[in-house]
Symmetry: C2
Subunit: 593 residues, 2 copies
């Protein structure tokens, strides 16, 4: 069975050496001294390692079962959920007035990574509740907040998001679920929703469904969609639970992975719902949830890569097979460990350099969310909005690839379920699909985000890279060569791609859209390149300042050098594809495929 070790040291490095969180003037960050964050991370890490990780295989093999409308979660999930709840983890970065601990998002993100690495299917139950609570927090009336948030922040009640219907996912304008206004101001919700994660389960006393539906007579398409709160049990005036609402689970889907999470078909049969936010403005409210979910899904990608990598690394150190061609390394054993072989190294370094870069990227993104929320920093808000599809699309694609590489290290054993490596890939696979399939992320990035606010945010990103290079060049020729020059080249490729879109997308938008996926990937590479340049600098600074743990910092530098040489140059290939435009992509008539 796979094991999991909380990467708290690496997180501390990113928080304090790289991001220097306490030096940022964001409200709440002044408390984030290293001792303090260490205490939180260690505590969460213990829970992840000793409670959640052992349940990961259980969740995969048992799955969820539906009997007489009741969903049973895998053995041990309920007790673990109680522990998570008792520790106050679901409300870690929620407002104190609703029972949360008001921590910044950057801490919630680090903790979330560990929970997700150790048990992705389990962590979705409170992760989705967080998203639903955020939507109510942002768009709910005071009464709604008071009614729902305290129990959702504590996870006494969990939450869901209901978007997809059998015939529509990405194109929500085709939605059929309807919401009929009632005399008392509520709505009668009728329709079927599919792919509802945690739609029904046995770990909370109530489930608060956020449901997109159309009010009859409203505008056509996506502009006529509203968002509703539909509790499983109606909540009485005094806050206690009242009657069962007209919502039921139709079936649990048989999925490729995340078996521990109950993915439900939900039937709304004249269920009582309450409008959240404004009529026909459901997409806006939904996007509060969705943007948070997209970042969370990006993290799922990297978190599964981390978990898979840890196990592949252990296996590569343990499994004896073949001899080092440059000289025997384990003369007392029948063979050398796998890790001596260059091609195994290549795979492990791919994984390591991705995971550490992605972690820095996630935490850096979280500081921008904090700046946006806590300091009302509009630039940070714009930048993180630009980067959201990159985080979601790039980290889940790459994260998935890394789980495949980790599985490959195991050879035949990787294919046998008992060893657990298959689960990481099967669980990670969904992250490329849900909350907007990655092709949709690429479309969002190129079709919407690039031009947002007159292209201000993408320009800000380029400036940020340029400034970093300028500020740090010329002090250390080796660092310049190994880190700054590749970053500069990659950033130039990215700018050239943006330029190509501007020059060619006007006359034919397909010229831009045919390159959107490549653009998302090259953007992701430049972000990880920037992260590695920052981490490289932080490591160099620490060594220069006489840090005692030289092996740790030297390893960071070596890992960064690897990324810059072996991964970052992918931008050139992406650029060449982008610059080939739409001609070859769109050449065929559909009938001629």
């Amino acid at each position: 069975m796979p094991s999991y070790t909380a990467p708290t040291k690496d997180m501390q490095f990113v928080l304090h050496d790289v991001l220097k969180v306490t030096e940022k003037s964001i409200p709440g960050y002044e408390d984030l001294e290293a001792d303090f964050t260490s205490a939180i991370l260690e505590e969460a890490g213990k829970l992840a390692t000793s409670v959640l990780a052992p349940l990961n295989t259980v969740g995969d093999t048992e799955g969820c079962t539906l009997e007489n409308g009741v969903v049973r979660t895998p053995t041990g999930f309920k007790a673990a959920f109680d522990q998570i709840r008792e520790g106050g983890w679901p409300g870690l970065d929620m407002p104190e007035e609703y029972g949360g601990q008001n921590m910044p998002c950057v801490i919630g993100t680090a903790v979330g990574e560990m929970f997700s690495s150790s048990n992705m299917a389990f962590t979705m139950y409170h992760g989705l509740t967080h998203g639903a609570a955020s939507a109510i927090l942002a768009h709910g009336s005071q009464a709604q907040k008071e009614t729902y948030l305290p129990n959702m922040v504590s996870c006494e009640w969990t939450g869901t998001m209901n978007l997809t219907e059998p015939h529509c996912g990405t194109d929500l304008g085709l939605m059929r679920t309807k919401a009929e206004p009632q005399a008392d101001g509520s709505y009668r919700i009728t329709g079927q929703k599919i792919f509802i994660s945690a739609g029904e389960h046995d770990m909370s006393s109530n489930i608060i469904h956020l449901v997109l539906a159309k009010i009859p007579g409203g505008p056509e398409g996506i502009k006529g969609v509203s968002l509703f709160i539909v509790p499983k049990f109606l909540v009485k005036e005094d806050g206690t639970l009242g009657e069962r609402n007209g919502v039921s689970v139709g079936k649990i889907e048989e999925k490729m992975g995340i078996h521990g999470n109950s993915t439900c078909v939900m039937n709304y049969d004249g269920a009582t719902g309450y409008l959240l936010g404004e009529e026909h403005k459901g997409m806006r409210a939904m996007f509060t949830m969705m943007n948070e979910a997209r970042l969370g899904v990006g993290m799922q990608g990297m978190s599964q890569a981390e978990a898979a990598y840890q196990n592949a690394l252990e296996y590569a150190k343990d499994r004896l097979q073949g001899r080092d061609v440059t000289g025997v390394k384990n003369p007392d054993g029948p063979a050398d460990p796998l890790i001596v072989h260059p091609d195994i190294r290549r795979s492990l370094m791919d994984q390591k350099s991705f995971v550490e870069g992605a972690r820095a990227f996630m935490l850096w993104g979280a500081t921008m969310i904090d700046a946006a929320h806590r300091s009302h920093d509009k630039d940070a808000d714009g930048l993180v909005s630009l980067l959201t599809p990159v985080i979601k699309g790039f980290l889940t694609d790459q994260g998935y690839d890394m789980t495949i590489k980790a599985q490959q290290v195991y050879g035949g054993h990787g294919y046998i379920e008992e060893w657990g490596m298959s689960q990481f890939t099967r669980d990670a696979r969904i992250a490329m699909i849900y909350e907007g399939a990655n092709g949709v992320q690429a479309l969002d990035l190129v079709g919407r985000k690039l031009a947002q606010d007159g292209g201000k945010h993408v320009m800000a990103f380029f400036d940020l890279v340029k400034t970093f290079i300028k500020d740090n060049a010329g002090q250390d020729a080796e660092y310049d060569r190994a880190f700054l020059e590749p970053l500069k080249a990659a950033s130039k490729d990215l700018q050239a791609a943006g330029m190509y879109f501007m020059q060619n997308g006007m006359k034919n938008p397909n010229n831009a859209l045919s390159g959107s996926y490549d653009f998302m990937h090259m953007f992701g590479h430049v972000c990880l390149g920037l992260m590695w340049a920052k981490m490289g600098k932080a490591a160099r600074d620490a060594l220069a300042a006489g840090a005692s743990d030289t092996a740790f910092y030297e390893t960071k530098l070596a890992t960064g050098r690897y990324y810059m040489v072996r991964q970052l140059p992918a931008t050139a290939l992406h650029l060449s594809r982008i610059q080939s435009g739409a001609d070859t992509v769109m050449a065929l008539d559909a009938a001629n495929f």
Copy 2:
């Protein structure tokens, strides 16, 4: 449930327009007129479509079960196996003297693709039998051939290959299974083998295991390994079945995919075995089987990509979601089909251009095998030996990626088992692992095959590309630009990589091995680039000759142009990685990971 259509038209194009099989002076090829091959392919295609494909999901969901030492295959498998057997398909390319039809390998390959696309797990039962029979054919005594081959060629008996043990897979020198010589010339085989595909099942009256074991007192390591025939039921002098041998199934593995194939732990408990080939020369005999298996596995990669692509294409044409940004395409419907979207096109074109290129590559490879076997052409033999790891490694990696792309087209439905797209990915995943994990293929290519016979075969490959370009350049500027120039550039990259290995691998072999995986992929791209250049030329020639089916040939040209522009340039990225050498790959001490 997914469906499957036999791509017979495309196969005919490769056989006749591209490879011009009847013009090759290979014994047996003179019979391969278009009408004749069409008749065979149509017949096999019908079987694949109507018998094997409907059982693919059944195999996945039911799997194989072990009860009291008896393995039960999924419902319908036995009847389908009878049908395959009655049609004489397992012996299609086996010698007539043992009941085969003596067809060339190129026909067996085309038929094999269809069987594998429609049901990979099922096809392994006779596929492995074919491999075992080939080993007996090549290395067995006359008596062994007469005893085993007729029933194996007909698949009345099936075969297996037993290599892996719990502690050793790639490094077979660590093997512990022993073979003790007996007075009657037989051996007593004792040990445990794992991952034995079709190790036990209910579809044949006997199972002929080919088992690697060490004769005590023989040379250490891999040089002391011998190969043995170990029948499940001993065969009496008169050819009837005698007593049950000391071999039994320990358990069936729970795998990620190919559930329809029983992957067994096999226990040999003093089982009677007969030496196949010479003592201690087991690896040589085993490689007859292994090389055939590696080509078959490469085909599995492309065959799953084909099957997945077919379904993704249908879904993309049917599923209505969103509108074409350049103008509504389906004004009478609520939305346009997915296929209008450029990013869906990109994905479909990636799949289509890979699958068709890979099919040509496989069939071209098969003509070389035929030339080697039927015309004793040593150059062909050397070239296909060089290309074997490329076919295995590149086609399975890329084939797998394509199944992932196909699954992605389905959005959320792709993750739900009911839709069947997950099975293609889960089945295809094993192809990257077994018969030598792809990292081992890369090692074989760079560490062994490149230098084989003084580098003669790789030079022959480069010559072949060069000659093709020279012979075809200057007739059509558009063809030169779209096909020959990209091929030339990619081939130059490949040569530069080879040069780098020569110059830097001597002083440190890790400089070569760190780039082996990238080299395998760039080699694969150049092969597919060559195939597309050949197919492009064939299509152009057909159009020039006034072929009536212009859409078919125009589509080939468009698909080829796509590959040349969007896929082939990956060689530059691979080259840049290769040229970075071992420094960053091997920088870390194992302890510092």
